[in-house]
Symmetry: C2
Subunit: 455 residues, 2 copies
């Protein structure tokens, strides 16, 4: 076969051992905290029926779904008129029946409906799997990336919101990342729109105030005026937008302002209840009521949650909220859910920037046995088996290469100890153990070696 | 949106929590043994460039590769003449530039070539990821399934073959599956073909004898005659095909028969050396020289390995071998490799049939706290946090539902302990703990509860 160039599709990545180990540190932490709180894992196929995915992510989303070309003689099954038109948009539905999942939420909704008779509700599930999007690749945005989701479905109790906040707190505390958790409630946003007399312009209002961080108060106000809000309405919002007090002060303010809006008052109540439950066991990080938070508004119906690193400039590293009718599109009505999703790639970047990956994530083998030849190899092999039986990762260099080459192998692979045995050691039933960091070398029994390594 | 049917593409699967937990038991076991032997993880993207995959798996394999439909206006980029022909085979290359990986071996070869300047050889890597094949789905054969591969690349020492056999032995011993490991060597097969005067008919000969298990000696002989071997040649093979002795007896026989074949004698030597190294630390299972073993012959150049369960009828559950020029197709010549691959789906089926999954794989939450209302909830929440801080998985039922419903939740989710606190318990700073299996219930302090659960 001819030589081929050996690249990978743009926007995708290979992961080397250290990268895998670091990513697993993140996944393992999230997974363990999910399990500590009683969440159970599911997995769904990489491919879903195209009809399951289409129409769930908006027009832009539909364009970004990776479609699988039908197998066999796909062309023969396409309508002749469409074929002659060469219209890609109309043809794609006939050339493709399956697609790669775009997120974990829609496959989860499909899963719940499909398996509803075997599921005990409330169903607390987590799912850590890759998703694919035909987005334009750029720094920090990939075409294949992992999502780490947890959702509770079939319970509208606010205990669930509180538990998800505790989970977020625990994950970032264990990862040693300082964060603040921002929370808001869509009902408060609806109440505010009502309060200023523009209940029907909620999307315009929230789209504008959601940009507060990026464009500042002045530009937010300008945008609302451009969208047709009256100066009086914008004025009425200012006490809320400019408020920087505690959650108690903010909820007091809102209780006054939103008296006329049943929805708004319910939102304030919900926020209070969530804070009350969360405060039963204090958090490590700050939980803050952010009245400008409005992410994914078309989707969420109650709580909205977003997490930001307090040390590194890096958008949202976790987010979520309550949605009231996720499974309705697949025919199961009236099931409320609330969920969160950790952004593993951004968390990776934060840990990298802060140099907070545990040292162990850069190291695999703990002991390399030097291969001096058949006799020495056969002397060391059973010792390595003894080390493995107590969980020590070790290896014998696979051939009697020059010692310099074997030492370089230990060095480049970050192996902290090298073990050797020549005539002398074999006669004494011992091994020389070299500490690769200090350079110290000692003749030790296997028991002493174990003591050194596990200490 | 209209109600949609909620199925998944044929040949793919959803995995529920117990299935995930059982599959993770298999993956974790394999992963830990790989790491104990110094193998390091990599991952590659689900999508490869189509050109990386095409031509590597034969004509049949090419047909079974799932292709990704190009994004955007794909039709406009297709040659008009080909379009008018409606020839699917010629069109697919123009409609698709990317495809889902078909195995882990070719992506690994691509990885090694692409990253060769950052890799320290010998490179011991493992990789546990799904692969996709547009095969006709049938019992035990799926369109999405996991492979669990380990390879050593850049070393032709037989120490590697021996280590991979130790790994296989350790994995199945830890999984509590009785197996026999079959080994052969392609050089012995070549020597035998030479010996009977049909060196040029090696594929026909090995294809026939590889079926010994399925069709029996008589039919194997018949097939060889039909393929044009002379009765004399077939006769000369009989002592080998009918030999059921130990590996020592078999190698002695071969040493006599293959004297005239340098290749054959080298194969016998290699087998002897592998047995010698393996025997330094005895295996748990049987290692057997199987002179009829010939799997994947076009691919392997030295050792051929296959593993079978001794209790369950179930084809090969692990296989591998030595290949001498895997990276050559991508432009890196002269790099020898040897690898194995565990079939996770078949191992799952064997464990299922033998009921050998650990009990822990069917259980997640260890304690459910019953929710009697706000006061009782707030009394129990800090206790749950204490349990979590020492690694106990627990949850509070998220709403004050009827006790019967909460108990059913514990029962259906296989939760072994239920914790409750009413006025009495709260006054005594205690909790009632109910053992769901025995039905026993006691009032205990939190410390006593921890003792019960971790004992």
């Amino acid at each position: 076969m001819a030589k081929e160039k050996s690249g990978i599709p743009k926007g995708t990545r290979d992961f080397n051992p250290v990268e895998i180990s670091r990513r697993e540190h993140i996944f393992d932490t999230i997974r363990e905290v999910y399990r500590l709180h009683g969440f159970r894992p599911i997995e769904t196929p990489a491919m879903e029926n195209l009809s399951t995915l289409l129409g769930k992510y908006g027009e832009e989303g539909d364009r970004l779904i990776f479609r699988i070309l039908n197998s066999g003689d796909f062309a023969s099954k396409v309508d002749d008129a469409d074929w002659n038109d060469k219209n890609s948009a109309r043809l794609s539905a006939q050339l493709s029946e399956k697609a790669l999942r775009y997120d974990l939420t829609v496959p989860f909704a499909r899963y719940v409906v499909q398996h509803q008779h075997h599921i005990t509700f409330p169903f607390k599930r987590y799912q850590i799997q890759p998703v694919w999007r035909a987005d334009r690749p750029q720094k920090g945005r990939y075409r294949e990336f992992y999502q780490c989701d947890a959702d509770v479905i079939g319970s509208d109790s606010l205990d669930n919101e509180a538990e998800l906040i505790q989970i977020i707190d625990k994950v970032f505390s264990r990862l040693n990342i300082d964060v603040k958790i921002l929370i808001n409630n869509r009902k408060i946003l609806a109440g505010l729109a009502e309060h200023i007399g523009f209940a029907d312009r909620m999307t315009d209002i929230t789209t504008a105030i959601d940009k507060m961080d990026k464009i500042g108060l002045e530009n937010v106000n300008k945008e609302m005026l451009e969208k047709g809000l009256t100066p009086e309405a914008v004025d009425k919002l200012q006490p809320v937008l400019q408020h920087s007090g505690s959650y108690k002060e903010k909820t007091e303010l809102l209780s006054g302002l939103l008296k006329g809006s049943a929805t708004g008052m319910r939102g304030v109540e919900e926020i209070r209840e969530v804070f009350d439950i969360v405060n039963v066991s204090p958090l490590h990080c700050d939980l803050e009521l952010d009245l400008c938070l409005a992410r994914g508004l078309n989707y969420y119906t109650g709580a909205i949650i977003e997490v930001k690193s307090t040390n590194v400039e890096m958008g949202s590293i976790c987010g979520g909220g309550r949605y009231d009718d996720l499974t309705g599109i697949f025919g199961l009505k009236g099931v409320s859910g609330v969920g969160i999703s950790f952004g593993a790639d951004r968390i990776y970047d934060v840990l990298q920037q802060l140099s907070r990956f545990p040292k162990s994530t850069a190291s695999f083998t703990q002991v390399l046995a030097i291969n001096f030849g058949k006799k020495e190899r056969d002397y060391c092999l059973p010792a390595l088996e003894d080390l493995r039986s107590i969980g020590i990762h070790c290896e014998m260099y696979p051939e009697p290469a020059k010692i310099k080459k074997q030492m370089q192998y230990a060095d480049k692979n970050n192996i902290p100890y090298v073990m050797m045995a020549g005539e002398k050691e074999m006669g004494d039933n011992r091994y020389s153990l070299k500490d690769m960091r200090s350079g110290d070398q000692e003749q030790l029994t296997l028991e002493q070696i174990i003591d050194v390594i596990v200490s």
